[in-house]
Symmetry: C2
Subunit: 160 residues, 2 copies
């Protein structure tokens, strides 16, 4: 895990089209803190299992601590990716997620960061767009990976 998060200190070019994207390029996001209040607030709305909403129930649970809903971890990582701006104005639509793994729980006070890697590029039958698969890997302050997910996004090509 050493240097897991020191890949590329150069900010990515914003608003990349399909032609700009290079398989293997990777970018690290800024960090985000997940507070207990954030974790409970998100889970209360979307995933109110006691180990996501009640610290005492969390301590008694399988995971041994209050922890964030996986949906929350995904939303945090997605927002970190979004703020890099890689596909700012060029993303046309989200097509789906190829896979998501909740590798470790996200706990109150954790400071997370996400590495975004251009995993693959795919032509489509239409000349004005292509498909990119982005691999997002999210790490906590101990550089332990907590989330792995692959986003499939329809992206514009440059206008001729």
């Amino acid at each position: 895990m050493a240097n897991a998060l020191n890949a590329d200190p150069v900010p990515p070019m914003r608003g990349q089209t399909f032609e700009d994207l290079q398989v293997g390029a990777q970018y690290d996001t800024v960090t985000t803190v997940a507070t207990e209040r954030d974790i409970i607030g998100f889970a209360t709305q979307w995933d109110p299992q006691p180990f996501h909403t009640d610290p005492a129930a969390g301590a008694d649970s399988f995971l041994g601590s209050l922890c964030a809903s996986g949906l929350h971890t995904m939303a945090l990582a997605f927002r970190q990716y979004f703020d890099l701006g890689i596909l700012d104005g060029t993303a046309l639509a989200g097509l789906g997620l190829e896979q998501v793994r909740f590798m470790r729980p996200l706990k109150p006070g954790d400071v997370i960061r996400t590495r975004v890697r251009i995993k693959s590029l795919h032509e489509t039958r239409t000349p004005d767009r292509g498909i990119v698969v982005l691999a997002l890997a999210t790490f906590n302050q101990d550089e332990v990976q907590i989330l792995d997910m692959d986003l499939k996004i329809l992206v514009a090509r440059r206008r001729a």
Copy 2:
């Protein structure tokens, strides 16, 4: 698509353990409405692309209308599944998502409902828990499927 959402009018048994779950069983959730305000609110926090936050930008976009972030559609469907209570108190942890497809956009005013199907069951090396894969299929008011996603959840077995 006819009768797509009339599978099983009987409410599912709540709090099922691994032994209770039967592959192929399926349950339909209640309906939820996604308002423009909901869509814009969620996207402003997690996925502020203009076609998710600005009706005018949505109308000019690839999708032709303001539409919800895929994360929002997922969260709505998950909460619908959650409220069925199938794994109330028996779900130990979310392991991940095997796949997610955003099949159609979720638009303001859409009334959605989710069908939950027990897709597969898997033994683990430990005797007190197993893994269930749940297939969630979300439909709009026209019975058009908008979301397909498979949740992988660690679930408790009955105590001996």
